[in-house]
């Protein structure tokens, strides 16, 4: 999340900085000198924040990561160095492979569908329809709720004799009723569906902010040129929405890869291991199986995985966004 926002700030600030340099060059060197002197001084002001960050995040994370190379069970004061044994175990662990596959399916499905739905909603509420402000609030409302609470509610709604099957029974044949969270082939889809329901409004808000930043003149010029709605969307709106798209895709892929709460509340990773994700597997190994060191190794792999995928995705989208502009 932070990477996406930082990237955008740097990118948009760049032209401004160039302009400042050129203007200062034109008005004699005296203007630049205080800036150069001020930088080392200003850097000292970063030290308290960096020290706090190191104390709260970096040092504990590094110390925690070191457990991955031990056989610690999370309880016993004794532990031994085992090298890469926990990482080798991961390669042979069928549960880890299943969890990785399901995590990828969830992340890709959420990223694609949530953003497509979010974009459509944004385009809808950006138009001049009546009550669009009410619609914006209603569509964004699920994103404000705590994921654990919504997951608990949906768990009841999706129960075999829950509200959804009750509704289906009232309007359609019995065969339409499903065991939404209890059928291994459906459970993963149900979980993904709930997450999209909750966060599509979140993506919508970011797209909406992007849409509102597109100057009206651009639309008017396109109208004068006789561009159809589709061509306006394809050649004007989507390229100019690149920054919003980058942020949305980053947030949804990272959220999808480290998904825990909704899965834990709705299915606990079941039935069997049908909805197990890397995060739920990490939790189970750490706190249920006495395999703390192995869970840390899994967590390191997940961190690297998230960093590589989101970093690669960011670079790709960033390049495409710049090319479009």
């Amino acid at each position: 999340m932070a990477q996406g926002f930082e990237g955008e700030v740097t990118q948009s600030a760049e032209p401004g900085r160039r302009r400042a340099k050129s203007s200062s060059a034109g008005s004699a060197g005296t203007v630049t000198r205080p800036g150069k002197r001020a930088r080392p001084v200003l850097a000292w002001f970063l030290i308290p924040a960096l020290a706090l960050y190191a104390f709260v995040v970096l040092v504990p994370s590094a110390r925690g990561a070191a457990f991955a190379f031990t056989d610690w069970d999370g309880l016993n004061p004794m532990r031994h160095f085992v090298g890469l044994a926990n990482f080798r175990k991961m390669l042979e662990d069928e549960a880890a492979r299943d969890a990785l596959r399901q995590t990828l399916i969830i992340a890709v499905a959420i990223t694609v569908v949530q953003n497509a739905v979010g974009l459509l909603l944004a385009l809808g509420v950006h138009s001049r329809i009546k009550s669009r402000n009410v619609l914006r609030v209603l569509l964004f409302a699920p994103a404000v709720m705590t994921p654990v609470v919504t997951a608990a509610l949906w768990k009841y709604i999706l129960a075999p004799e829950g509200a959804l099957n009750g509704l289906i029974a009232a309007i359609g044949p019995d065969s339409w009723q499903q065991n939404w969270l209890g059928d291994p082939t459906l459970a993963l889809c149900s979980v993904v569906g709930i997450i999209i329901w909750q966060f599509a409004g979140y993506s919508m808000v970011i797209f909406l902010a992007g849409l509102q930043g597109i100057p009206q003149e651009v639309y008017e010029a396109a109208s004068v040129d006789g561009a159809s709605d589709w061509r306006r969307l394809r050649h004007i709106i989507l390229p100019l929405l690149a920054p919003a798209t980058t942020i949305n895709l980053m947030l949804s892929i990272i959220g999808g890869l480290k998904l825990f709460d909704q899965v834990w509340v709705m299915t606990g990773g079941g039935p069997g291991t049908a909805t197990e994700t890397l995060s739920t597997l990490i939790y189970k190994n750490a706190f249920q199986f006495n395999e703390y060191a192995y869970s840390v190794a899994l967590a390191i792999v997940l961190t690297v995985f998230v960093a590589v995928i989101s970093g690669g995705q960011y670079r790709l989208l960033h390049r495409q966004g710049r090319a479009a502009r």
């Binding site: 999370g74 004799e161 059928d183 079941g270 069997g272 199986f289 006495n290």
Partner: protein, 419 residues
């Protein structure tokens, strides 16, 4: 708002938020307070005991924290390893789960209670579950069973009686189905519920003819796959096929299954007997409940019932207030405290005494205990928590047609061999 005011406001909010998770009684001047942690399911029992303890020890400050089982296990382990664990805390007897005495005691975090006078009164059937290496580490509080809790009104409505043989049990399922009711509510979406029907059947299919099964497992001369476990799993699936259980058990949670029993939509629910209180609290006024052991053969004399110490409390070896912690542990071992705890949680006191008034619904458990027809909970004698997890996952896979009993039992055998 001035910065100092803001700081005070934030600190106050923080203190309130922290306090919301725990309950404290009677602030005392200066002395270290007694910190206690327990699982939320046993809150009523612990509160009843603490009220009596507080009356005997006025002026002592007691802070108690309750949390759900999974959260409790994770938090307790973290607190123990970081030296911040409470003085007295809930611990499961035996082995097989991350918060069990056999998992925690070898690390040196639990105080040795072997020298206490009450240890001599612990019944022989429970004693091994309170000890590690011959030393006692917990005071066992309750004796619980696993059987079919049933709604008496719903039983009358289907015109049936509690079954005593396997054939009668299948007929009971048919009778319930014909009257539009569920015979047994089953919430297999909640992982720990998956094991209960299996345990209820295994008590008979394994232990009626093989009392030493656990010892043979330990010595490596027995396996799950080659034992009565296979018969029990086949019967579990037969019950499912016959329509004995709730519609779509894998999509039904524990809470839903208890509600089905309480309302009478389901006639019975194979559960831990301590769930009786929860069912009673949700049922319409005047609803009466009963309990029957789950038969697995056509010889009623063979029927056994899982029954074991369900809750225990340990003292932190590095308790901040060791004197008061010891005092509480000793108080918990008295008939007064045990009866209060058992009465509030719908269980029996682990050390039987004449002063305890048994809930009539639990009489079959008392009778089976007296006749020596109870067997320990299976997981309490397993070497690690992975066997239980393999069992949970396996049952869910069986119900989803993704595995067969042989595969599940082989996975459990594999997990049993691990450390």
């Amino acid at each position: 708002m001035r910065p100092t005011h803001r700081l005070v406001a934030v600190m106050t909010a923080g203190a309130l938020a922290t306090g919301a998770c725990s309950s404290g009684t009677n602030a005392s001047g200066g002395s270290e307070s007694l910190r206690i942690a327990a699982v939320a399911t046993d809150r009523a029992g612990m509160e009843a005991v603490l009220k009596a303890f507080q009356a005997k020890n006025p002026g002592e400050k007691i802070i108690t924290t309750y949390s759900d089982t999974e959260q409790y296990q994770g938090t307790l382990r973290t607190q123990l390893s970081s030296g911040t664990a409470p003085d007295v805390f809930f611990t499961w007897p035996g082995n097989g789960n991350p918060g069990a005495v056999e998992v925690l005691a070898p690390t040196g975090y639990l105080a040795d209670l072997s020298g206490r006078s009450w240890t001599a009164q612990i019944p022989e059937g429970i004693k091994p579950l309170t000890q590690v290496g011959g030393k006692t580490y917990i005071v066992p509080m309750t004796f619980v069973g696993i059987g079919a809790l049933y709604n008496k009104k719903a039983m009358d409505e289907i015109g049936a009686k509690p079954p005593t043989t396997w054939s009668e049990l299948l007929a009971f399922c048919d009778a319930a189905k014909s009257k539009g009711k569920v015979a047994f509510a089953l919430g297999n979406q909640t992982d720990w519920v998956t094991q209960l029907a299996d345990y209820a059947l295994i008590a008979t299919t394994v232990y009626a003819t093989d009392k030493d099964f656990d010892q043979r497992m330990k010595s490596g001369s027995a396996t799950f796959a080659g034992s009565g476990w296979k018969t029990a799993m086949a019967k579990y699936l037969e019950m499912n096929k016959r329509g004995c259980f709730s519609k779509d058990p894998l999509g039904t949670s524990f809470e839903t299954s208890v509600a089905q029993l309480a309302k009478g939509d389901a006639v019975a629910d194979i559960q831990v007997t301590s769930v009786l209180n929860q069912a009673e609290s949700q049922a319409p006024e005047g609803t009466e409940f009963g309990l029957f052991p789950v038969p697995a053969t056509d010889n009623a004399d063979e029927t056994r019932m899982p029954g074991a110490a369900g809750a225990g409390f340990a003292q932190n070896a590095k308790a901040k207030n060791p004197e008061l912690a010891s005092k509480l542990i000793d108080f918990m071992a008295t008939p007064e405290a045990m009866n209060l705890y058992a009465g509030a949680t719908g269980t029996l006191p682990s050390i039987p005494n004449d002063q305890f008034k048994v809930d009539p619904a639990l009489q079959p458990l008392v009778d089976f205990q007296k006749e020596g027809k109870t067997v320990p909970f299976m997981d309490q004698l397993w070497p690690n928590p992975k066997v239980q997890q393999a069992h949970f996952t396996g049952i869910q896979d069986l119900f989803a047609d993704k595995a067969d009993p042989d595969t599940v039992l082989q996975q459990m055998d594999q997990a049993y061999k691990e450390k």
